[in-house]
């Protein structure tokens, strides 16, 4: 199981990869992750790779991911080639406009980007920022998206293992909020699944 998590520095992708990797360990599997830490953090693109099973190297090859978990619209599109043909993408519709666009050096056309993702993958779009804010903080985007992946039933993990991992990796102070966010994400994709029979 290979999951690529993508977003912008500061969105909490590393914590999401840790939660997922540890959930696999709870279920008795080996897991490894590969992270972007350093220069790329300061508002740059970040990518985390989560690999459960017997892979040796931390990075998922292009065309190898079972799931793309995208924290930001354009970042999802940027990494769509990492998905397997039958892989799924869960994409946060929220946009973070880069300074290069504000300076007029590049276009950020959300409509075009959304179309591109839809045409090139089995994608589900959710407004994770909104769901996170409803649960109490925009910082809970990571647990909303993990919940969405769980609700879609593509992780090969039980809900209990994920909740246990969230409890281990998130400070007690923020736990309730994040558990709520996890359930909110889960409910969203469960309902979508019901409606569209995507899987």
């Amino acid at each position: 199981m290979d999951i690529l998590i993508t977003g912008v520095g500061g969105q909490g992708t590393i914590l999401a990869s840790k939660i997922l990797a540890y959930a696999y360990v709870i279920e008795g599997r080996n897991a490894r992750t590969g992270e972007t830490i350093g220069m790329s953090q300061r508002g740059g693109c970040v990518v985390s790779h989560v690999r459960a099973g017997n892979a040796h190297s931390p990075y998922i090859p292009v065309g190898g991911a079972d799931l793309l978990l995208s924290f930001e619209l354009c970042e999802g599109a940027r990494r769509i080639s990492y998905l397997k043909k039958d892989g799924f993408a869960i994409v946060n519709t929220a946009s973070i406009i880069p300074v290069s666009t504000a300076l007029g050096m590049a276009d950020y056309d959300a409509e075009k980007i959304t179309k591109y993702i839809s045409e090139n993958s089995n994608a589900i779009f959710i407004d994770a920022d909104k769901l996170a804010r409803e649960c109490g903080s925009f910082r809970a985007v990571n647990t909303v998206l993990i919940g969405a992946a769980c609700g879609l039933g593509v992780l090969g993990l039980s809900k209990d293992s994920i909740v246990q991992s969230i409890k281990k990796n998130i400070k007690a102070k923020y736990l309730d909020l994040n558990i709520k966010a996890f359930h909110s994400g889960m409910k969203t994709t469960e309902e979508m699944k019901e409606k569209c029979k995507v899987i």
């Binding site: 912008v8 520095g9 840790k18 990797a21 540890y22 360990v25 080996n30 897991a31 490894r32 992750t33 590969g34 992270e35 972007t36 830490i37 350093g38 220069m39 790329s40 953090q41 300061r42 508002g43 740059g44 693109c45 790779h49 017997n54 892979a55 040796h56 190297s57 931390p58 990075y59 090859p61 292009v62 065309g63 190898g64 354009c74 970042e75 599109a77 940027r78 769509i80 080639s81 406009i97 880069p98 300074v99 290069s100 666009t101 504000a102 300076l103 007029g104 050096m105 590049a106 276009d107 950020y108 980007i113 591109y116 090139n120 925009f138």
Partner: protein, 613 residues
């Protein structure tokens, strides 16, 4: 005899065990695994200087130092750290020192001598290399330093192996009386693996420092030691041929020689494409395991060498071929078959292997034609460096000026629209490069920007040089009370150590004064008009000037208000002037992203229509 002895102890279970660390399988970052390995091995003194991708090693040691028995410190720079660790080792305790690859350049003076004098308590020098480079100035290869200083080098391929190697490195160091370099690369440092952690910590009673002429480096001692060390290299090479970190896997006629993190990539390709090859895995890479290399070369018809950074294993193989009169075709970096620069990832490594064996193995989809907006790293919203750069820019507008930069977040000052970093060489070089430019171009206003942590690491000697040699430069210290770029480590100017104890606060203002700078002034860069005025004044002084811009890192303070735009005319001057990431455009008008805005108010100095809420 010597080699056998070491093999035995390497595989021995540690007996003297009493303390529990953890009893779970853990997902650990490579750097954290190294830290836990060191703690399990009974490390008592740990020192380092932050630098990506090495920083989390020392932070990990501090985290696992639950009973406070380990002395852990961020030293002022890598040279200081390595010397602290050497002193501890000479007193019989196990010591670890951590840095990134360019840090070892700073610490190379003690390193070279320590390779001659040797050690007593196990000493491990963790030096993280950064193929790519991803967040470094150079793509230098620390394995060369092993050869240069006659110090053994271990090169882990995964966080799991890094954990095992760290524990072993302390034993090896004590057997050889030499420091050991552990050289992880970014793919190991910043990836995590599933690690079965030891439950107990190695216990020992250190002998203490015993006075002996062997700790005083003198020419006759160096000569004698040089003879001994060269002899020792042969014994270590024999040992390394037996070590499980070095091994031959598979039986194919095609040979792939690899090491470090690239081994993991090669294994993934070999397994997923079911290739019949023989892999030479080099983990203890210097001194080279001659016997094992010879055996590998005998078994295969041709060899592809896959390694990141320099062709170290490749050159070692050529050497063995020459010595043992073996002739096998080798493809690698030396003949241009593999690119000399950059990372080896699955995709490009697969292509190299396909080219080597002459057939296609897998189809990797090409990237699409769609072009996405670039997202280069930028100074955060509310970053005081943006205000400092903008103040200097405004003060010097229209005057012939050069702005020398340094290493830290503020290197990002080179980006649009600030464009306030004209040079960057290495830690502390901004101040001294500025002096050279001033000497060559006396009519230019030359500025040197340096962060607070960098100032202590290697800025002070440069400032003394400017004062001593009478070179008029303007030093701007960007004092945000932390080492921000590497994740907010404390430094000597803060009054707090990494173990959160209080310490004397070394005041940059007083240091600059006592070093003899003519003009020294402290100012908050967000008091923008005063900041601009102070810079002008500093530049007009005849002697060396130092302006200390004091304001805490934006990532460490919570905003108490945010800014907003009222009746924006859409001129976008605010974005063109300061390029804050919180300033975005919607329907041709500037909006402030409240989730990002830090309320610093710098933009209110650019446009009257922006107000603080």
């Amino acid at each position: 005899m010597f080699a056998e002895h070491i093999c035995l102890t390497a595989n021995e279970k540690i007996n003297d065990i009493t303390r529990r660390v953890n009893d779970l399988k853990e997902i650990l970052l490579g750097n954290t695994a190294i830290a836990l390995g060191a703690v399990t091995a009974g490390v008592r003194v740990a020192a380092g200087y932050p630098g990506t991708p090495s920083t989390e090693v020392l932070e990990g040691v501090a985290k696992y130092n639950t009973d406070g028995k380990i002395s852990v410190e961020w030293s002022t720079n890598e040279k200081a750290a390595l010397e602290v660790a050497a002193g501890a080792s000479w007193s019989g305790v196990r010591a670890i020192v951590t840095m990134k690859q360019v840090g070892l350049n700073v610490a190379s003076d003690p390193l070279m001598s320590l390779g001659v004098i040797g050690t007593k308590g196990g000493m491990v020098i963790v030096v993280a290399d950064d193929p790519g480079p991803i967040s470094s100035q150079t793509e230098q290869d620390t394995r060369h330093f092993g050869k240069f200083a006659n110090i053994p080098v271990l090169d882990p391929s995964s966080p799991e192996e890094a954990y095992e190697m760290t524990k072993y490195a302390f034993e090896l160091s004590e057997k050889l009386h030499l420091p050991i370099i552990l050289r992880p690369t970014t793919k190991v440092c910043h990836s995590s693996g599933t690690i079965e952690v030891d439950t107990e910590v190695y216990q020992y009673e250190p002998e203490g420092f015993v006075k002996d002429p062997k700790w005083v480096i003198f020419p006759p001692l160096s000569y004698r030691r040089h003879l001994e060390i060269e002899q020792q290299q042969k014994e270590i090479s024999a040992l390394f041929s037996q070590l499980p970190f070095n091994r031959i896997e598979g039986n194919g006629r095609i040979g792939i020689a690899t090491g470090g993190a690239t081994y993991a990539v090669v294994r993934d390709i070999v397994e997923s494409c079911e290739l019949d090859v023989t892999i030479l895995k080099s983990g203890a890479v210097f001194p080279p395991p001659d016997q094992l290399y010879g055996e590998f070369l005998q078994r295969v018809e041709k060899v592809l060498v896959l390694e990141e950074l320099d062709p170290v294993i490749e050159e070692q193989l050529y050497h063995i071929m020459a010595v043992r009169k073996i002739e096998k075709p080798i493809r690698g970096k030396l003949d241009g078959f593999v690119s000399p620069a950059g990372e080896l990832r699955f995709e490009n490594t697969l292509k190299i292997i396909e080219k080597f064996i002459g057939r296609k193995l897998k189809s990797v989809e090409n990237e699409s034609g769609m072009v996405f907006p670039q997202r280069p790293p930028v100074l955060c919203a509310g970053c005081p460096h943006r205000a400092s750069f903008y103040a200097v820019k405004k003060a010097m507008r229209g005057k012939k000026s050069v702005f020398c930069g340094d290493i830290g977040c503020y290197t990002l000052g080179n980006g649009k629209p600030l464009e306030m970093t004209d040079t960057c060489l290495c830690m502390g070089a901004g101040i001294t490069v500025a002096q050279g430019i001033k000497k060559a171009e006396p009519d230019t206003n030359v500025f040197a920007f340096i962060g607070d942590s960098t100032f202590f690491a290697s800025g002070m000697t440069g400032l003394a040089n400017a004062v001593y040699n009478g070179t008029k430069i303007n030093v701007i210290v960007l004092d945000n009370s932390t080492t921000a770029m590497t994740g907010h480590q404390p430094h000597p100017g803060i009054g707090r150590t990494m173990m959160n104890t209080s310490s004397p606060k070394i005041d940059i203002f007083s240091v600059a004064k006592s070093l003899g700078a003519e003009f020294v002034e402290k100012v908050n860069p967000f008091e923008f008009d005063l900041a601009v005025k102070t810079v002008r004044e500093a530049s007009e002084k005849k002697g060396v000037s130092v302006v200390i811009f004091e304001a805490p890192c934006a990532a460490l303070v919570k905003p108490d208000n945010v800014c907003a735009v009222e009746d924006c005319t859409g001129c976008k001057k605010c974005i063109r002037e300061i390029g804050c990431p919180a300033l975005t455009v919607r329907d041709r008008k500037v909006e402030i992203n409240r989730a990002l805005c830090n309320g610093c108010g710098l933009c209110t100095n650019v446009c009257d229509r922006i107000i603080r809420l």
